[in-house]
């Protein structure tokens, strides 16, 4: 699945939650769950493209769900269907969904929910449950309905579901595997719980990136097997490999 660098048409683009956008672009070829693209919706500035995960995909398109954080995502959000973005990808090694079986917990923190949709969709023959935490109200959760047998929501503010951490809701021992994406502190807790319960755990890491393809060596994270590039060797790693001090 080699990456390519294309000018890609925006097919649809809408705000699905306050400050959270869903954008579908034409991009032929296979994409694996957990992979991402370097996205560029502007000319010269900001200098670097922005990594955004595959939220959903089919043969011809890719969908992203992203939160506006700074200038890059702000500029992106101003683009309209019919305009184009530059996409480099798909890159990274994704969730090894073929290795998963039995009961799988899908654990999301905030916008970390984005890549987990395509992961949940791609798991075959598993029984998945979604655990997700938000600052306030939830988003994107409905889209998981076809792929999960239960949904557990937590929120920091108590606006929806459990008032507290999503990790409060999860008993890792109930599952055969856990996949997770969200703030590092949350993923650390998840990885620790999995280790204690002896459960397989995959985490999707985030780092500042320049190239996204393994050329700059700027996105390293420490692993049990030495420093690895999050963009090329990850972003998905075995929890026990990267959450070393967890």
């Amino acid at each position: 699945m080699p990456a390519s660098c294309l000018k890609s048409d925006i097919l649809s683009h809408k705000e699905i939650f306050s400050g959270v956008y869903q954008m579908t672009c034409r991009f032929p070829g296979p994409k694996a769950p957990g992979q991402f693209f370097m996205v560029r919706g502007w000319q010269g500035y900001p200098l670097l493209s922005r990594p955004i995960s595959v939220n959903d995909a089919d043969e011809d398109t890719v969908t992203f769900v992203y939160e506006v954080r700074g200038q890059g995502t702000q500029l992106l959000s101003a683009l309209r269907p019919g305009e184009s973005v530059e996409l480099t990808g798909p890159v990274g090694s994704g969730f090894p969904v073929e290795k998963l079986s039995g009961r799988v917990a899908v654990v999301a923190g905030g916008i970390g929910i984005a890549p987990l949709l395509y992961a949940a969709k791609s798991m075959k023959g598993c029984e998945a449950e979604l655990f997700c935490g938000f600052r306030g109200k939830s988003y994107l959760v409905e889209a998981f309905a076809p792929y999960v047998s239960a949904v557990h929501v937590a929120s920091d503010s108590g606006a929806e579901g459990h008032h507290g951490f999503v990790t409060d809701l999860l008993d890792a021992a109930d599952f055969d595997a856990v996949i997770t994406c969200g703030p590092e502190i949350m993923m650390k807790k998840v990885a620790r719980a999995c280790r204690e319960a002896g459960v397989l755990c995959y985490v999707s890491m985030e780092r500042h990136m320049a190239c996204g393809i393994g050329a700059c060596l700027g996105c390293t994270c420490k692993t049990l097997h030495g420093a690895k590039c999050v963009c090329k060797d990850g972003p998905v790693f075995l929890g026990e490999d990267v959450m070393i001090d967890a």
Binding site: P2, A3, S4, C5, R40, G44, Y45, P46, L47, L48, S49, E86, T88, H208, M209, A210, C211, G212, I213, G214, A215, C216, L217, G218, C219, T220, G226, A227, K232
Partner: protein, 302 residues
Amino acid sequence: MLETVIHGVTFKNPVIAASGTFGFGHEFSQFYDLSRLGGISSKGLTLEERFGNSGERLYETESGLINSIGLQNPGVDAFIRDELPYMESLGTVILANLGGGTLDAYLQGVEKLNGTSVDIIELNISCPNVKAGGMAFGIKSDVAYEVVREVRAVCKKPLMVKLSPNAENIVEMAARCEEAGADSISLVNTFKAMAIDIHKKKPVFDNIFAGLSGPAIKNIALRMVYEVSSAVQVPVIGMGGISRWEDAVEFIMAGASAVQVGTANFVRPTVCLEIIEGLEKFMVENSFQTIAEMVGIAHNNA
């Protein structure tokens, strides 16, 4: 038309992927046929394997990138064994970019590379000199002169010396490196810079200082290339913020016989191709028959 010969080495075109921004080529080969390139400068090599710096390694500035990679690389031996065979197969000029912390490490690295198929050794003198309290070899002309002279004595390949823009006097530095036997001069490496995380109230990088590259530095680098190219006889290879073919033309007109493209490869992996194509189109439109006709032309008209 784009062909250019530099100290006996023939480049298909004057566009070289810069060290540290192109790995050993693998990652970019998925985007285009690398034989289209004028050359590739390898990731900076050191005698021993290096794991690079801890902490944050990248910071984006206004039109620039600060990096603190710290010369992470597999070491010269592993390069020769694991990477060079692939690079040789690419059908483009291969530059081995060599760094070091001591004169001795440079010399040993050169000896190892002497026996290989690399076309050119690009000596990176921006590395901290372990014995001089970490001040880079490329700051004081006399220090650089010594390193280049010793390296020249053992080096069996064309020797390109890559200058740091942090040099006290870039013109004198270039002249002294030429005097010491450099076959060509490439410039510039990254500018010493830093950033502060105002919420953590501390420098972003564990090493405090790191190197700025990208469009932000372009017009300072261009000035240095212009100055250096009128102070030395050997060919000058220009770089620093080149991200469009127009930038490449500016550097060539300032006196560069070839250019290197660094950070821009991160922005769009196919950028070198676009620069080569733009350059060719510009030459046709402006009736330039050879790159040589363009080299330094801005000096004549200044």
